[in-house]
Amino acid sequence: MSAFSTFLGKERRETLRTWRLWILPGILLFLALSSPVLTRLTPELLKATANSQPGVVIHVPPPTARDSYVQFMGNLGQLVIIAVIIAGAATISAERRAGTAVLVLTKPLSRAGFVVAKAVSQLVVLVGATVLGVAVCIATTVALFGSGSIAPFLEAAALWLAFAAMILMLMVMLSAAMRSQAPAAGAGIGLWILLALFTGFPLIRDHSPAGIIAANDAALTGRDVALLWPLATTTIAGAVFLAAAIWFFRRREL
């Protein structure tokens, strides 16, 4: 077995044996269950609020399966991205600070192999958690609202996953470049907010990963948007971030 596959195997075991298994999948599972339920209960809650105030009448259209998916995707776009940023900020720096990187990297595992294995293991957790969350959200939505078209939701979830994967690679890079988790997380949140602000500038939005954020809403509401540039730039940015992470880590003294 090669050093890379041995280290990847350690990552797999670490995911299964430590808290890492529960953070992203746990958050996604919770949101996948709570989003449809909240959507279903929202009209009742609003009616109850209105009834307690005489003279106030609130008309709320009956919620649909699409509302449930929109609620879930809204949570993915904010809460889960923040979780990805915070968890990803420790990818490399945690091993460096714990001293485990020294024991591993004085054996025949290259620094590039170390970074790629860490990134791959985090990516596998992200993909697995997303698949689990989407499946549970669909099942809960179908149970509460009956069957509806899930294709737009799947498209939106796939776009979100591409964006989240790029954010994860950004965090791997920041984790390799910075000394500890906190500054990397701070920088990651700052860059994510900057990217969100770009959605207000059509020229930048349509030719950058910011386009994915806008395309997400469009997919759920059935509007057509051009995806080539946002997807291409997101993929390229993810690859560049991973390459930069390797570059930073090769130059870092341990």
């Binding site: 050093a3 020294v102 024991l103 054996k107 025949p108 003294e253």
Partner: protein, 333 residues
Amino acid sequence: MNDDVAPTAPGAPGAPAESLAARPATPPAVELHGLTKRYGRKAALDGVELTVPVGAVFGFLGPNGAGKTTTLRILGGLARPTAGSAAVLGHDVLTAGNEVRALIGFLPDVPGFYKWLTAAEFLRFAGGLFGLDEATLRARVAALLDLASLAGVEARIGTYSRGMKQRLGVAQALINAPRLLLLDEPTSALDPIGRKEVLDMIAALAGRTTVFFSTHILADVERVCDTIAVLDRGRVVAHDSIDDLKRRHGRGQRLLVEVDDPARLAQAVATLPWVALVERSGATLRLTVSDLPTAERQLPAVIAAAGLGLRRLEADEVSLEEVFVELVGERRQ
């Protein structure tokens, strides 16, 4: 320990002075030339010249902050020198990468383990990084757990004492049967029992692999090392076998003398030109002399002339601590 774990080194560890003088046919275990490492304006290493022969149990001695850890980090490929070269078994550590790492075992001063693994799991993981096959891995893990007195310990590493972690650290550094074992202060934070256990492990490796062992604990060096270098402020200030260093350093040489009336002998020798200092401890006089051969020749005559009975006359060994203080202290002053 099983021979499978650590190979018999091709060079003999017994004759360090000779190996230092003559360049061996095989490349040295460690070869540093003009090794310099600067952090800003501060030089952690300042042109270090050092050769460690294959098979030595080598003590790399120095006060805190002398540059020992920096040297080991460069040898382990964890840091880059600002100038100069560092070679391990003939391979340049800057360019060789995995070639060098496959030959060495490395233990940092504070080893970091995955706390959720057991000792056996960690050793299997470490062996896997070297690409060991299953049969070899099984045999070495069993032998090394035994060597580290961790056989049968099923608890996770997170629950281990410092001594257990340090022993596991030495064991993981041996998993590939390294030709060079680099140990950074392996005993510095251990209690006396933990220290003895780790030193026993190192002593057991003599003749099987080259050990490069950094420490500031002189007693550890005297116990397990045959050759040492003293590093101070980033420079090698001495490099020799322990015996030769003791012979060459230490302020003057000393003789222990026992006679039937030590007070009279103290009076008789006090004015002799080759006597630098007279100390009395019970019936024993300790004479620090500036010219040992003259002292050895003339002292029996002085004792006889004073009408004293000689009971004991022997050379008093200079301690490594005294040598160390002389080497490092002189530079400090």
